[in-house]
Symmetry: C2
Subunit: 400 residues, 2 copies
Amino acid sequence: MIEELNQLVGQTAPEAPLNKLNTGIRQKRIGILGGGQLGRMLLQAAVNYPIETFVMENDPTCPSAHLCHHFTRGDITNFDEVYNFGRGLDALTIEIESVNEEALFKLESEGVKIYPNPAALRIIKNKILQKQFYKENAIPTSDFIITNSLEELKQASDFLPAVHKIGMGGYDGRGVQVMKTSEDLQLGFDSPSVLEKMVAIEKEIAVIVAVSATGETTLYPPVDMVFDPRLNLLEYQVSPADLPEKTLWKIEAIALKVVKDLKSPGIFAVELFVDKPGNVWVNETAPRVHNSGHHTIEANYSSQFDMLWRIMLGYPLGSTEHILPAAIVNLLGAEGHKGEACYEGLYDILQLENVFVHIYGKKETKPGRKMGHITILSKEKQELIHQANRIKQTVKVVSQ
Amino acid sequence: MIEELNQLVGQTAPEAPLNKLNTGIRQKRIGILGGGQLGRMLLQAAVNYPIETFVMENDPTCPSAHLCHHFTRGDITNFDEVYNFGRGLDALTIEIESVNEEALFKLESEGVKIYPNPAALRIIKNKILQKQFYKENAIPTSDFIITNSLEELKQASDFLPAVHKIGMGGYDGRGVQVMKTSEDLQLGFDSPSVLEKMVAIEKEIAVIVAVSATGETTLYPPVDMVFDPRLNLLEYQVSPADLPEKTLWKIEAIALKVVKDLKSPGIFAVELFVDKPGNVWVNETAPRVHNSGHHTIEANYSSQFDMLWRIMLGYPLGSTEHILPAAIVNLLGAEGHKGEACYEGLYDILQLENVFVHIYGKKETKPGRKMGHITILSKEKQELIHQANRIKQTVKVVSQ
């Protein structure tokens, strides 16, 4: 790669460890739309590089506001506010899909680099377009029908069991309804939505894929998302996932195809189902850093956050290799607690030597809110699972 | 420890993984005096915990200013400014010794926790008091005499070869003068200083020690500071240092004694000389996070920065264990370059899979200025040294 580039610029530099192309790593101006925990961890990684950072978010007490050079209070869904925020920046990224994409298209046409590009974002942020994209590109995904109203949905009882997902605006479990019998149909959404045939899931896997501005790609080792079978709640995530080699190859090939067909640089999280016979189905894709990649901060040479900066700065892609295997547990606001956050049991967990605590700095907890996560590193898978369960039993985010 | 504490509060909690003492990890307000790269990396680590951060520094474009909740432009050597900054905080730390210590004594008397405490800081920041402290506490250190003026220094030709160090205000190599012959005496300092007998150094070692508010201590593995024998410039640092077991024990015992005798919580970097016969001498101590501990960000479970927050927040001390051995190379401003910084050769280095780049975000480079560092992780010591040399030859911080 370097040799090719050197040839392009007419340099052979036989004696040189110095690549002359690179005589210019200088500070760049990069913005983030949204100021939650993903922005926070991005800004934490930005500390390592020469970057002038910009954040736009409505809430000036959000987790990212104090960690950037320039905070703009603004509405990320508003055309003018996004456009004015993005003008003059070298690059712009998102930490949530619900941003004004028209402004991104305009900024892109004026030379601002957008990660992911707005065309890919448009496909992904609408669950209907996303499903159609999989189908058009022959990417394996569960069967689906589109429902534009509750009326239409009620005709679809033959299609059950299925999952009803609202086209636009769903997030973190909102806008998703499991439908087992025809009585459940009335719980569906009365707006354009997609009804997805239920897959007999054996495993849920997530893969983070990085794509450079010049189209180079690299994959992180797949992550096993372990759910509580009774509550259908994510228990913990383990990386690398325990998979037969053939299934692993299939997953990697499919994840790579999703991202290549999206034709956009950036970081993508592809979530997949594996069924008992070993078939692989794409569930959905996020065009950004993702919860399923948080362990990469400590567990991999280049974290997903580091990697996105490398992509936006035009640096070489980093290494996705594991330093050590890892598990993570999300810290969610406890049921029945709303108010100023307090972290019960955390003192105990901070005594474990192979555990890394990440609190997102949200002042207020509420039931189910993502308040932090804890990463465990260990060569031993049993140790990862043991500690993950211990953390789940010990730490509780309550109101004071 | 937990059991003892549980007994103290009258709880036995037979079934509990939950330590009730800990039902209260809440946000704390903590300040840093100084806004350079040490503050920057401290704030990067602070992102993981519930902390409201405060920084005071004269330069609003300093490496830390944009990474805290509250930046105060102010003079850290001024009594009123330091005192007003510290009032109402839960805790306060420093990232440089030259702060107003009277203000710290007053704040301490009013209940603000200071890391390190001002009594320890007073000893360390004056190289004369520091040497006397070692002598009084029977800590092995090279012989020395005190010189109050150039006139007194000129009487000391019998004491050469020696190193003349100014009592107050030296920093990063400034205020230090090597004296081999009596002609060198005129290069000395005309103010209270210490003249230290030169030791026949075989190795220079640094040890980071952590001390909790309740007096618990833990040591990081010693670091080998490798100097260029011709230029007497730090080439790179390797951790853990390659030492005979007996020397290692001696170093650890001495470093621990230094810190225990200082009677202060905080992070301390003890720099030591080892001579050919294996004698160990304390060179000097820094009462704060230190350049010789930067590799701990990636190489150890709890970094020196993470550890200082744990100490200030009253959390358990973290693990100082290595995840992998490491080396670091400092990136210093190149000779003959002054102006807006540009990082030559960095692109090449970012392609190495086991390398972590840290740029400090200083707009201006000047000769010898600390502009960043690069950490290398590897199981193989030869690989560490090979990559360290490669980085030294490849990366150059120049002006644009």
